[in-house]
Symmetry: C2
Subunit: 261 residues, 2 copies
């Protein structure tokens, strides 16, 4: 699929750029958005600019939705061709992480559905790609969710969100923290969703994240054989800019939903 | 200090070995210890063997304490020269992690005190070292804890421990999850403690971990200017094989202890 190949090329370019900037990140300018932990670096802006420029050159009529300024609303017609970009998901980790856990996400929507998506992990160089109905790959090799069939043997990637949501996180996910065999908080939706798609985690949950955080990741999980829903089990609607999310390998989905308060 | 240099040499050797085995880990044999999530791989055993052999050759009269079989008790005389080893801290991450978060820890005790310690992070190649009274370094460059002075602006590395401890973790640390600006769960004590020592996190807490999980990490944090205590603020005693732990950059220590239930 042409759009998937385009995504692959962009992620390869941006991953190299992000890795270079990370290696000398003491000189990177950081500003805050809503609060001190909602960070924006000049690298986020530069990467978004690179991807936007490439899309405008190749697909001049397509809409673009993205995390950084000016791109944070959906096109009026939900069936329009539209690209969904998160230049650096895990900016806090880019700024502070001893082990750098962050990724770049590019999704492509048309006819109201996510048709192609990719996640690039700059430090390891991994590129994960999916096209609707054509499966998912990691560095060109097909990936599948893991067959783990009990919460006790499963690994949960939990997202604790921003501070305002933490009481809700502790209340709703306290049971999951107790029931899952392994619990990790990477602080980046792309990592959590990519891990489920690769079978390196079994589930991922979030109380409220944006389209650009999950668009490519959800497609990866679905094409790798996993299950995607909202926390109450209802479908995720791409027409909502924000959604809560429960993603799993499928085998543990019902047991996981029962443990969410 | 000679023991620190010895640690540096061992970590350099074992990190290369672990990275090689990780890159082809589908062939690594994994067994369970107490339960399904308490994993032991053949690589843990091999790395412990390499370090034990090197210590016996260089320091034949020294005692050795380590995570894997046969080394899990302290010498009777607390003042005896003793090496404390964790071959792979974060074995679950070694087995499953999309971004590999695990490390090797070597500590050296004498006269009842931790005198030298080091943590190796195989994938990034980082080596962190400290000797009592001589500061701490990362790849030879001196490191200091971060000056962050409020929980709201701070990053917490939280350890959720094994499943049996989770209700205690949710109850005691629920307040910390709400109060800290950023919360991460790496699933490896070495990473949490190394991150505080480097200033890439501001605090680390655990309800109960073993001497080999924390010995080198605590010395790193202390030598980098941080504060180490138990969760109730009392001192950590190296004569206990298991302890709870609250570690920070110092500036937020009192505020953090007040938020622990």
């Amino acid at each position: 699929m042409y759009e998937r190949d385009f995504i692959e090329k962009q992620l390869s370019i941006t991953s190299k750029y992000i890795k270079t900037r990370y290696s000398d990140r003491s000189g990177v300018a950081v500003s805050s958005k809503r609060d001190i932990n909602d960070m924006l670096t000049e690298v986020d802006s530069a990467v978004q600019g690179m991807i936007v420029e490439a899309i405008r050159e190749e697909f001049p009529d397509d809409a673009i939705v993205g995390e950084e300024s000016g791109f944070d609303h959906l096109p009026e017609d939900p069936r329009q061709r539209c690209w969904v970009i998160d230049p650096i998901d895990g900016t806090q980790n880019f700024v502070r992480g001893l082990l750098p856990v962050f990724g770049t996400s590019i999704g492509f929507m048309a006819d109201g559905d996510m048709k192609a998506g990719g996640i690039g992990l700059p430090i390891t160089g991994d590129v994960l790609l999916a096209a609707r109905g054509q499966g998912a790959t990691r560095n060109g090799v097909p990936i599948r969710v893991a067959p783990t069939d009990s919460l006790m043997a499963s690994r949960l990637e939990l997202d604790v969100s921003y501070q305002a949501h933490r009481p809700e996180v502790v209340k709703r996910f306290g049971g999951l923290i107790c029931d899952f065999g392994q619990v990790r908080v990477a602080g980046a939706a792309t990592i959590g969703l990519a891990a489920v798609a690769c079978g390196e985690a079994d589930a991922y949950v979030h109380v409220g994240l944006k389209l650009w955080d999950h668009s490519a990741g959800i497609l990866l999980v679905e094409e790798a054989g996993g299950t995607v829903s909202r926390l109450d089990g209802s479908p995720v609607l791409l027409s909502n800019l924000t959604t809560d999310l429960a993603v799993s390998n499928g085998a543990i989905h019902a047991e996981m939903l029962r443990a969410i308060l």
